[in-house]
Amino acid sequence: MPPREGTYGLLAEFDTPSDLVRAAQQARKDGWRRLDCYTPYPVEEAAEAIGFHRNKVPLITLIGGLMGLAAMFALETWISVLAYPLNIGGRPLYSWPAFIIPAYEWTILWAGLSAAFGMIALNGLPALYHPLFNAPNFRDGATVDKFFLCLEALDPKFDRAETKKYLETLHPVSVVEVEY
């Protein structure tokens, strides 16, 4: 658990995505590892810049989809062969071609739900409180038209005064301290 008091990090504000990406690349190059960018829309270059390349959402989706497929196909087989065998026009009890369709739908259903809820869970949401919302300029801009770089206090390189000076060299619009 991170400390619940003191400084969460230092937040630098930028006006354009290009400025943010350059600053993030520089910070990463200078050895910062506990850092994050905040943008009003997906900026892939910024994620690359802070070294975030891959995520687990596809894997979760695949597992979910396969589970849906297996669950429905097994359910259909069990019902039609064992639990409630019905003679429908002389077709075999194990009519696997007909079973494909509900199993196909459930593959998509489970995969889709896994993708959505997996993404939300990996993002640590819902998180209605976050220290960043304490920053005076964050809520005005982060979801509208401003681009932020946050160097977090958990980074071993972090020092309130030194880091502030360092961030100023990246030409931000402003640098503010974020409290827990």
């Binding site: 994050d36 509900p102 998509i108 739900l113 819902p126 038209d145």
Partner: protein, 472 residues
């Protein structure tokens, strides 16, 4: 398909490609946000909104009345009987589901094809999908006769140990439509989370802050979150694409698996899917044209969008035309007496007028005029065409359901079909319900995805080589 930066000449047309711009010139991150948030985050609701809402609400009440009476009296109040056992309920079910399909097409398939122009219309097309599925899903439930035991359709462990029959297309429908409804809602909601975050940050009232804050799940726009979000959106789009194709395919199986002439045909799945997209795009136009006018969104839903939707309608319209042609051809080529009679009866029998309406509305009017770019960019004309196609596609389902059923194999069992006032009330009522839900959506939720529009702006291009601090 991003807009390219060029000097201003004709404001609507990009001189490099000769195409219409997707986003109007002079839009910025801020102006996009303002333009979309001001529709929702204002205490002043336009009077027109209340006027239309009350009309739609009144119609929804008509639906409620019709359904209450139906529950009291049973499906006998509808015109369904032998030989036409599937009447308005199934026509409306197929029509509404079809309308929903264009929403998924725009939000999912066009996303996979990287068609940036779809961003502006994707959100309300998805909303349209959900409300159309709400209207559609109701029909089979109230059509079963005993809606209070509709849960028997699900594989649930009852004390009677009765289980569903998985070889029937009607049961496949249950899974197809319920999956479609769920995935559409999830896709729609996931897409809205960041925009709800914008609303949370921009709203003045405490209640709005609280409610949008809850529903935005505390979204703060971290790029790590955005990347997972983008992956999930792409995956959902990739999943929704085969889903939407399968849903109307399964619905067409309801017909195609039967042995009835006019239903028992292999062309049904592709022809149903194409027809669904055809009518769905028409409905998107029917909604988009008044909306962009009422809320002054001409800069975000441009002529380019209208033009492109016209092109999609032209293409899918021709697939539908091919389907009609193939049905006629097969009636002759099969050398089946019943097939040939069905087709003759469909065209020239006592209900031949409905086939005439279908040909006029789905083929004659749109497929001759949509070739012309001047007409495709004429907003009033496109609105007219959209209504025509909606009517035509309703009649397509009418033709399929009624004219195949009312004169089948034995002349002694022939009958006719005349809808009762309860049929009409239920149908008109769903139009009211749909409009009612859509108006609520427009008033309280972001109808245009802000974050997706921002990605299309020229300012969003990253220019790494410029001097640090230079403005874009």
């Amino acid at each position: 398909m991003a807009t390219s930066e060029v000097e201003k000449r004709d404001p609507g047309v990009d001189p490099k490609t000769g195409e219409f711009r997707v986003v109007g010139l002079s839009q910025t991150f801020k102006s996009v946000t303002d333009e979309i948030t001001r529709i929702v985050l204002t205490p002043n609701t336009p009077l027109g909104w209340f006027a239309i809402l009350s009309v739609a609400g009144a119609l929804a009440t008509v639906l409620l009345t019709a359904v209450c009476w139906l529950f009291l009296k049973g499906v006998g109040i509808w015109a369904i009987t032998q030989p036409v056992a599937w009447g308005f309920a199934i026509i409306n079910f197929v029509w509404w589901i079809g309308i929903g399909h264009a929403g998924t097409l725009i939000s999912a398939i066009l996303l996979l094809f990287k068609q940036g122009w779809r961003n502006a219309i994707s959100r309300f097309a998805e909303a349209m999908t959900i409300f159309a599925v709400v209207c559609a899903g109701m029909f089979p439930l109230i059509h079963v006769g005993r809606p209070w035991v509709a849960y028997w359709m699900l594989p649930l462990p009852f004390t009677m140990t009765v289980w569903p029959q998985f070889r029937s297309p009607l049961l496949w429908d249950v899974f197809a439509v319920s999956t479609y409804a769920t995935i559409s809602v999830v896709f729609w909601y996931v897409g809205m989370i960041p925009d709800l975050g914008t609303f949370r940050d921009r709203s003045e009232s405490k209640l709005a802050k609280y409610v949008y804050g809850m529903f935005s799940l505390g979204w703060r726009g971290s790029v790590r979150h955005w990347m997972r979000y983008e992956t999930a959106s792409l995956l959902l789009a990739g999943l929704a694409t085969p889903l939407v194709l399968s849903v109307h395919t399964v619905i067409s199986f309801d017909f195609a698996v039967a042995v009835l002439p006019g239903w028992h045909t292999t062309i049904f799945p592709p022809y149903f899917v194409a027809g669904a997209i055809y009518s769905g795009f028409a409905m998107v136009l029917t909604l988009a044209i008044p909306l962009r006018k009422a809320y002054h969104l001409e800069d975000l839903v441009t002529e380019r969008h209208i033009d492109n939707m016209g092109k999609v309608m032209l293409a899918t319209g021709f697939i539908v035309a091919y389907g009609y042609g193939m049905e006629v051809f097969m009636a002759w080529y099969s050398a089946s007496h019943w097939e040939a009679f069905m087709m003759w009866n469909r065209m020239f029998g006592p209900m031949g007028w409905s086939y005439g309406v279908l040909v006029l509305c789905n083929l004659a009017i749109p497929l001759t005029t949509l070739w012309v770019r001047k007409l495709r960019t004429n907003i009033a004309f496109m609105f007219f065409i959209s209504i025509v196609v909606n009517v035509g596609m309703w009649f397509e389902r009418f033709v399929i359901v009624v004219t195949s059923l009312y004169r089948d194999f034995l002349p002694s069992s022939w009958g006719t079909y005349r809808a009762t006032k309860w049929d009409y009330m239920t149908y008109v009522g769903t139009l009211g319900l749909f409009t009612f839900l859509f108006l609520l959506f427009v008033r309280f939720l972001p109808m245009i995805p802000m974050n997706e529009i921002k990605m299309l702006l020229p300012q969003a291009k990253i220019k790494p080589k410029e001097a640090v601090g230079a403005g874009d």
